[in-house]
């Protein structure tokens, strides 16, 4: 049993890898088998995430002392080999990703996994990249896992072809490739100067650098930061995001809701480790505050201008990135727990919202004038000869309404209810937990403002967050009215229970989080404490080396 426990940290990476690879060998026709494998893998990831969450809290000190688990791949000593490190933040992100992945998977089983392409495998590889990025303890593997999840996301975003999707997919790929090169340059500069890529060891090395080296190191750090900010979707590096996310199929866009948070996670992880030594020009400095603020404003304008629900939700993702970055940029440590709470709610909400867009699309009679007007870009008429040449035809992006299986009653009522819940969550209106998140964020910020000497920025942030909530409410109300009230020749969709359930589940999880905000905040507060006092993290990771050396000494 302890052997299995010992290998727990690597499970979220190995399980989706094996499941994804296994499904590639199954023929197209064996949908049930593939769905079973995918579901099993996702459930295992969810369970492992829960177990990590439990172990990383101080509930089980006999397994991991101080709640930090270190897994040495290949059993190489820590600063030389590759380590996976599980602390509260990693465990939290893994669980969050697995929850969203599970809902997306259930949703896709209903109808979306039909045409060609190894959808399930790609989703598993995406999960593998996400989990790896959250668990890794060194910078280069962060890059590798970023690439794994990006490669899977390239495949996913192109799913369903269609000229617009391929165009946006190309933009997405090019921007992210360039960001990857930036990441590599940053990583190699950090290595060239500090001589290590292990994040725990790096922290100690930075303090010992000479001023000249220090300047170069900061440049490397800044380049890394740019790469993270591209992933996080911060302004002005986010112009690819709304286009790509709104043309991707609904469940795929929903799984991408987690992707931007990887960037925020990286900023938080690397930022807290680097800024631990007070001389560091911190990644979490005033610059981040202004970038976050600009992102917030850009996202708000985008929300107001969007005519299409999926595009609006994409802009709301940008807004959430902006709020998180701006709050982190204030440099007030007690803001981290509310930011994390906001992150959780934001991931679950945008996931649910994207899934919902897939269903609301179908309520509109597809050829009605309004439907055409609602699209930000007019539907292109496919150039037929080229299609024939490529042997592809544009599939119906929303699937067909036939053969849905068990449909749920009162589909429109359900859609409306879920829409209202999502709106309340996104805009942070009471009584749903979106409000709890924003309220704790702002009240903490205002409470700490004077002590931190940040009075003016805090009030600017408060005004911006409130304004963006209002703007979001206006934009969403407008879209909601045109979606549910003004369409005359609307067709009531038959919703499969497998499609409806994940959305309801995500919203329910959000509601539960709101109801259990106290314990959740307690956990997040200890998460933030360990983040801002990385000594334990560093000691545990590097102690793994000492232990191993002892073991070798005992049995040469």
């Amino acid at each position: 049993m302890s052997g299995l426990l010992h290998h727990l940290p690597v499970m979220p990476i190995v399980v989706p890898l094996l499941a994804g690879a296994l499904m590639l060998f199954l023929s197209e026709a064996r949908r049930a088998a593939r769905a079973t494998i995918a579901l099993t893998s996702m459930v295992v990831q969810l369970a492992v995430g829960g177990a990590l969450l439990y172990l990383a809290s101080d509930a089980a000190p006999h397994v991991w002392s101080e709640g930090i688990g270190v897994y040495r791949i290949g059993n190489w000593p820590s600063p030389f080999g590759i380590v996976l490190v599980v602390d509260r933040l990693s465990a939290l992100m893994v669980t969050l990703g697995a929850s969203l992945g599970f809902c997306v998977l259930v949703y896709t089983i209903a109808r979306w996994d039909r045409p060609g392409q190894p959808f399930h495998s790609l989703l598993q590889f995406l999960m593998m990249g996400l989990n790896g990025a959250f668990l890794t303890g060194d910078l280069f593997n962060l890059f590798v896992f970023f690439e794994v999840l990006l490669a899977a996301s390239y495949g996913l975003v192109l799913r369903g072809t269609g000229a617009t999707r391929v165009k946006e997919g190309l933009h997405y790929i090019v921007v992210n490739l360039v960001a990857s090169f930036m990441f590599l340059i940053g990583v190699s500069m950090v290595y060239g100067i500090a001589g290590t890529l292990n994040m725990a060891e790096l922290t100690g090395r930075v303090a010992a650098l000479s001023p000249a080296d220090r300047a170069l190191f900061d440049v490397g750090g800044a380049i890394l930061g740019i790469a993270f900010l591209v992933k996080a979707g911060s302004w002005p590096l986010n112009l690819w995001l709304p286009g790509t996310y709104s043309v991707a199929l609904a469940p795929i866009a929903a799984s991408f809701a987690m992707l931007t948070k990887v960037g925020v996670y990286a900023v938080l992880r690397v930022g807290t480790l680097m800024s631990h030594d007070q001389a560091a020009a911190s990644l979490l400095g005033p610059a981040l505050f202004y970038i976050g603020l600009a992102t917030l404003v850009a996202g708000t304008i985008g929300m107001l201008s969007a005519l299409h629900l999926a595009r609006l939700v994409s802009h709301s993702l940008i807004v959430s990135t902006g709020i998180m970055l701006a709050a982190l940029g204030l440099g007030i440590e007690s803001l981290t727990p509310p930011v994390l709470f906001y992150l959780i709610v934001s991931v679950l909400t945008s996931g649910a919202f994207f899934l919902l867009t897939g269903m609301t699309e179908r309520t509109r009679a597809r050829d009605s004038a309004i439907a055409t007007a609602m699209h930000d870009e007019p539907r292109e008429t496919p150039a037929l000869p080229y299609y024939v040449a490529f042997g592809v035809r544009e599939p119906d992006p929303y699937g067909t309404d036939e053969e849905v299986g068990v449909a749920i009653p009162a589909a429109m009522a359900f859609l409306g209810l879920m829409f209202v819940c999502c709106v309340l969550l996104v805009t942070g209106l009471p009584p749903l937990p979106g409000f709890v998140a924003k309220f704790t964020l702002l009240s903490t910020a205002i409470g700490e403002a004077a002590a931190a000497g940040m009075t003016k920025p805090v009030w600017v942030l408060t005004a911006a967050v409130l304004a963006t909530g209002l703007a979001g409410a206006i934009a969403l109300t407008r879209i909601g009215m045109s979606l549910f009230w003004t369409v005359t020749e609307r067709t009531t969709p038959r919703l499969h229970v497998l499609e409806a359930a994940p959305v309801a589940l995500l919203v329910l999880v959000c509601l539960t989080l709101g109801a259990a905000a106290g314990p959740v905040m307690g956990y997040l507060e200890s998460t933030a404490r360990s983040l801002h006092d990385p000594q334990t993290y560093i000691r545990t990771v590097l102690a793994a080396e000492a232990q191993l050396a002892e073991a070798h000494g005992a049995s040469p």
Binding site: Y154, I173, L177, S180, F181, Y191, G192, A383, Y386, A389
Partner: protein, 114 residues
């Protein structure tokens, strides 16, 4: 050697960035390739430029680290080459698909109105 090396990286990066900003997809692809070369050479250079020093420590020989090149950047660059190559190949496929679907090689999928 350092100055030649630095110039090579600079020229590759500059050409890559310029091509990346061009409107035709093939130019963008070439730009990406050049940028990836520049990045790879840069990573390699971060292990310091040394000659006649192997990166692998011989078991019998001396273990003085100054006799050996740093193996880590070489391992990193190998990974970076593989990943960069694969993603560039994927870009090529998407580029062809866009050409096929829209009938133009403009990055926006349509010719600018002029």
């Amino acid at each position: 050697m350092e100055i030649v090396y630095a110039l090579a990286i600079g020229v590759l990066t500059a050409s890559g960035v310029w091509l990346l900003l061009r409107p035709r997809t093939f130019q963008v692809l070439m730009g990406l390739s050049l940028l990836s070369y520049a990045t790879n050479i840069f990573i390699f250079g971060m292990g310091r430029l040394v000659m006649y020093r192997p990166p692998i420590i011989e078991e019998a020989g001396a273990t003085d680290p100054s006799l050996y090149a740093d193996p880590v950047p070489q391992a990193l660059v190998l990974t970076a080459i593989v990943i960069g190559f694969a993603t560039t190949a994927l870009t090529l496929v998407v580029l062809l698909a866009l050409r096929g679907l829209t009938g133009t090689d403009h990055v926006d999928g349509r010719e600018p109105e002029s």
